[in-house]
Symmetry: C2
């Protein structure tokens, strides 16, 4: 723990103080310049900052007594990672919303660099809704995207389940601490999600129980981490519609699946469609809308791509689309490749992938223009 930079530890200490949310945190940092300086300030000075007052000032002061080392050790012991908004691993898309959560708690694979789509809907879903949610999730992960949802019963659960069954990555955002899984009936699902390379995410620290007041913040993270939100089934006052509204305010695409006008479970989705949500019949209806954003925000590798190499392809749009069509195995290969040639044997070893399967996948990737073969059975990435 002591190897952590003080600044980061002080940020965590401050962000964990009772009453200090993203807005007050920003105000404090604007005044004092750094979390360390905030913690050094006397309560009477702190109290004068916009939105703070005496009680919060006391809480900040008391934060100095908080056993942060013990807390971080506890998190580590139950496999929970802590990510601050200054950390590189913080989901970049989430940074673009108003008041992103200063801290994210994560269980599982905390690689948030893959484009994600949220699937949400009612807890009281029909067989139709459950089937559609699972199918869309399965088809999204088959295209290399992550499925985000809220771990709730009904549509949320079906979406996570569909993603896991499709061999893909899915992120569950909770309205409680990650030492709890809510609802309990989704405990096995949560473990399967983590085992499949997915993650559980919360802005709430351990020990926080799932109070109704926590769900708006959870919904904002669901839509904030996604390029778009698909509402599969939602009656008129469904919480999924709140997530859809958040998505609109955050500038995300909103999608809705139509259904029978006889069923009250589609009133909410049909209202969204009347208001201009994109109608979704299948995964292509989603993908076509966000393809351009995937290229902008995820597709291009930074820096020197295409310069000073013998690449034959280049990061054109066609191959960026191809990148999204990859299954998990081929995506894992792409993740290992960069500008420096990697030998096929080394790839096989790193990925634990049989040489025969690897060879087949490498040929496919080369034909798609995504990678290029170099002298000595080595490979580089084209885009």
């Amino acid at each position: 723990m002591s190897s952590e930079p003080t600044e980061r530890l002080d940020f965590i200490r401050l962000a964990l103080a009772p009453g200090i949310g993203p807005s007050r945190l920003r105000n404090l940092l604007a005044v004092f310049g750094s979390p360390t300086a905030v913690l050094k300030a006397v309560p009477s000075t702190l109290a004068k900052v916009d939105g703070i007052g005496e009680i919060n000032a006391c809480n900040i002061h008391k934060a100095l007594e908080f056993d942060l080392d013990g807390f971080l050790f506890q998190l580590q012991s139950i496999d929970i990672q802590l990510i601050t908004w200054d950390d590189e691993g913080y989901p970049q898309l989430l940074l673009t919303i108003d008041d992103p959560p200063p801290l994210l708690f994560v269980r599982g694979n905390a690689d948030f660099s893959i484009p994600a789509i949220a699937i949400v809907g009612t807890r009281h879903a029909t067989p139709y809704g459950l089937r559609v949610a699972a199918k869309l999730a399965r088809d999204l992960v088959a295209k290399g995207m992550v499925v985000i949802s809220g771990m709730a019963l009904g549509i949320d659960g079906a979406a996570h389940r569909g993603a896991v069954d499709g061999g893909g990555i899915t992120w569950g955002v909770l309205g409680c601490g990650l030492d709890l899984i809510y609802p309990i009936s989704h405990k096995n699902l949560a473990e399967e999600m983590i085992a499949a390379g997915g993650a559980l995410i919360s802005s709430y620290t351990i020990g926080v129980v799932p109070a109704p007041g926590n769900f708006p913040a959870r919904n904002r993270i669901i839509s904030g981490m996604a390029l778009g939100v698909v509402v599969v089934e939602a009656p008129e006052r469904s919480g999924a519609l709140i997530t859809a509204r958040e998505a609109l305010e955050q500038g995300r695409e909103v999608f809705a699946v139509p259904g029978s006008i006889d069923s009250i479970g589609h009133r909410g989705t049909h209202n969204l469609l009347k208001q201009g949500a994109h109608l979704v019949e299948n995964v292509d209806d989603i993908f076509n809308e966000i393809a351009a954003q995937i290229v902008t925000q995820y597709g291009k590798r930074p820096a020197s791509a295409g310069v000073g190499t013998t690449k034959t392809g280049g990061g054109n749009d066609a191959s960026l689309f191809a990148l999204q069509e990859l299954d998990v195995g081929s995506r894992r290969i792409m993740e290992q490749l960069g500008d420096d040639p990697v030998h096929a044997d080394e790839l096989s070893r790193m990925l634990g992938m049989p040489p025969g399967e690897l060879a087949m996948r490498l040929v496919d990737l080369e034909l798609s223009g995504l990678i290029a073969k170099q002298p000595g059975n080595t490979y580089i990435r084209n885009i």
Copy 2:
């Protein structure tokens, strides 16, 4: 027959000539000024008119030999009325499309002054589609609108049936002569439609059989006579989509009913929704879109309304909306009233309506601001 103006008879004679459709008819009238002049012209002169040529010129010349009196007598004997585009009774909305049919054949009540909505869809409808079509039709007639459709099996038939069962007016547009009913299984439905104050309409003369080539012209009339077209259920290549496209080209509103994405019967309607058609869950979704047009095109009575009378209401929008909410009985009362006071007893006699029912309806209409009571138990119309 001999009391008919010669000009009109010559127009009918000319419009019935083989090969002479709306476009050639317009060209001929533009050159010669009147149908009588066209019929007097020699074939060599006629042949020179744009789009005519020798064969059509001969057909026009031969039209002089056609037994028009006998034809009109035959129509009369089988209760078919003939309306030309110059007649007052011609549907005014249909005049606004490109190349409206010069002649309409009508069986039943040829009053086309009521706002109409078309309901179309696949012949191979699901129980859901049939139920929705019938329900929408019933709700549209309850709002005082007419339901138009194409008399086909499936959605068309369900729409006509729903309108009749709702005690309303429905117009069936056929792709054949009105001496035939196609399909034959809808013969009873057709008679019920006529008995309920509706009509069968065709641009084809008697004896014309329902060839596939006739249906595009029929579809153009369906959409052309309607303020909007509702597609209830349509797979990807349904003829109903052709009607929807016609409707768009004619500047009509296009509506579509969503359904399960599992059913291929909704592919066409979902495509329409993706392209911007209005989503319909219930009759209000239709009515809200066309309310303004109803006011513009049907709501206001011409000329002196509100001048020199003791009216208390006036043609404001609220009462125009109320006008659309009327059931058949109250609409019939409205049709009998104008600027000149009519005694309640006379209304009762004209409408064949029991005095008790009439009195109740008159009170309702007065409270809605649609009519005003005058001295001596007489009534005038407010809008």
